[in-house]
């Protein structure tokens, strides 16, 4: 079966337009990155050069991986329940749009801004650390492998988080509950990245590969799971 690119693009563009006009979404997209950038920056500026030694045993940059988990979860948790709330789901499903095209368009619309935002926040953090932090602190914090991990895992974590958010959104009738459950469901992944950042789980190549492979499997399963929960009849009639 073909996927209608034009229909997916239509959903994608519609979502982006809605984000632009929806102050709540913009606030939600801004809060998490601010929380994750302000606190570490304050910490960095207060650190003396001596602090560089213990910092070498940590991977502070990996804290930032929470951003590509939490931001898309916020957006995706509104994806389906938001349409139901506005009464727009029925007109949308009355068009030739297939369920998977709708979900793909929604997922892309959550993915693109989240990943861009995550990379921008990450870039800003690195730039500020390099420019203003004490040199030993900066070189202890900004390390090649951590940068690579950030670049690679940001999109993977986003996709996983999006499927979780959409799956929850397909089953919830209240956007607030949906958002809270999506946050809750994202926490285990944030916990893993935090444990790696704190060196509790050693950040080795084997761990990274295992984590990456695990995420790919979860993404595949998550997509199928989200699609299976998107039941047109139940969503339209509130039955079953």
């Amino acid at each position: 079966m073909n996927t209608g690119r034009r229909r997916v693009a239509a959903v994608f563009h519609k979502e982006l337009r809605e984000y632009r006009h929806n102050g709540n979404i913009i606030v939600a997209m801004t809060i998490f990155p601010l929380v994750f950038i302000i606190q570490p920056l304050v910490q960095v500026f207060t650190l003396s050069s001596k602090a560089a030694i213990p910092l070498r045993h940590e991977h502070s940059l990996l804290y930032m991986l929470a951003v590509p988990v939490l931001v898309p979860a916020t957006l995706a948790s509104y994806a389906v329940v938001g349409e139901r709330l506005q009464g727009t789901l029925e007109p949308l499903l009355s068009t030739p749009l297939r369920s998977r095209e709708l979900l793909l368009g929604k997922a892309l619309a959550a993915f693109v801004p989240s990943v861009i935002l995550s990379y921008v926040i990450f870039g800003v953090f690195i730039a500020v650390v390099e420019l203003f932090a004490a040199h030993p602190v900066a070189s202890a914090m900004v390390r090649g492998p951590d940068l690579l991990a950030q670049l690679v895992f940001t999109p993977l974590l986003s996709v996983w988080s999006i499927w979780v958010g959409i799956a929850i959104s397909s089953r919830c009738s209240d956007p607030r509950t949906s958002g809270q459950l999506a946050m809750l469901a994202s926490l285990p992944v944030v916990a893993v990245t935090t444990l790696i950042a704190l060196n509790v789980i050693p950040p080795e190549l084997k761990v990274a590969l295992g984590f990456g492979a695990g995420l790919l499997v979860l993404i595949r399963l998550g997509g199928r799971f989200a699609a299976s929960l998107f039941d047109r009849e139940r969503l339209i009639t509130n039955t079953k």
Partner: protein, 320 residues
């Protein structure tokens, strides 16, 4: 006007269609046909299954049993996309993105229907609902009547073969409802098949070639005039200045008069086979008996009378 005899191809063909939600029956064993270009009214009380029927025919939900053909395509799960390409549904609630402008709403749906030259099509749709000057307005800022017109413009974008209108004037004031009626009449003139569900019986009477009355099962189907004739005997109502001394002597045996009854002191209702043939004979008889006639008129039953009669019969059937 649709002619069931001459129409060879059908826009809708529904055969013993049933939809159940668990133990609850939404509609049961419904069969009817709608010809291309026909305006077909689907009437019934709340909870009768009208909206569920529209959703089923629009492939939003699947039937429990029975079969149907929609715009020439068999109603099967694998044909959902093809059917939805050929039809449009305007649900009772307009369902517009309130933060987006009218043009942005229509643009999204034009892309979803993959229409050629979407900008031109949007302009045409907006022109047909007389909203060209509101294209840039956010839908949330529009009145309910205007939102309903935007929803109608959205339904017209794909140039559908069959247009399902689910309570299109629900909640509208009389002026806004009249605007929607004019739009529907315009669509009818353009040959669009319209499946109209409504509570407003005068709306159905004005717009529809045929109507069906649903109350979980199909109660009746036909042209409004035929339904009236089928359910009610034709009558002449005679109003006089003074009561007749011997009304039986006047009315009994007149050609075309099958019976009579008194309806107040100076009013008589005559059951007739054909009012046009019976009226002159009745007039002559009254004049010959020196009666002063105030009026002689054919009694007209509205579609509402038909509707109420059918629903009453159903209630009586349940009670007995």
């Amino acid at each position: 006007m649709w002619d069931p005899v001459t129409v060879a191809d059908l826009a809708l063909s529904v055969d013993h269609l049933t939809k159940r939600f668990g133990s609850r029956v939404a509609f049961d064993d419904v069969s009817f046909e709608v010809g291309r270009g026909e305006v077909f009214g689907f009437l019934g009380p709340n909870g009768a299954g009208k909206t569920t029927t529209v959703r089923t025919l629009g492939t939003l939900i699947s039937p429990s049993s029975g079969s149907a053909t929609v715009a020439g395509v068999a109603l099967k799960p694998e044909n959902g996309v093809e059917i939805r390409r050929r039809i449009a549904i305007m649900p009772e609630a307009p369902g517009l993105y309130s933060r987006l402008s009218v043009a942005e709403n229509l643009s999204c749906f034009a892309e979803l229907y993959e229409v050629a030259e979407p900008k031109q099509r949007i302009a045409t749709a907006l022109r047909s609902v007389k909203l060209e000057d509101r294209a840039g307005d956010p839908c949330g800022s529009l009145s309910k009547g205007l939102r309903q017109r935007v929803a109608l413009a959205r339904a017209l974008l794909s140039d559908p073969q069959v247009l399902f209108l689910d309570e299109p004037t629900s909640g509208l004031d009389p002026a806004a409802a009249r605007d929607v009626h004019v739009l529907i009449e315009d669509l009818r003139d353009r040959g669009v098949t319209i499946f109209l569900t409504t509570h407003r019986l005068e709306e159905a009477e004005r717009l529809c070639d045929r109507v069906a009355i649903l109350n979980t099962t199909l109660q009746t189907i036909g042209r409004p005039a035929d339904l009236r004739d089928r359910l009610f005997s034709k009558t002449l109502t005679v109003r006089l200045v003074a009561q007749l001394a011997d009304p039986g002597g006047v009315f009994t045996g007149l050609p075309g008069v099958e019976g009579w009854r008194s309806d107040g002191p100076c009013t008589y209702v005559l059951n007739v086979a054909d009012p046009v043939k019976a009226a002159p004979a009745v007039t002559r008889a009254l004049v010959s008996h020196d009666a002063d006639v105030l009026s002689l008129s054919e009694s007209r039953h509205s579609l509402e009378d038909v509707y109420m009669q059918l629903l009453d019969e159903r209630e009586d059937g349940r009670g007995s």
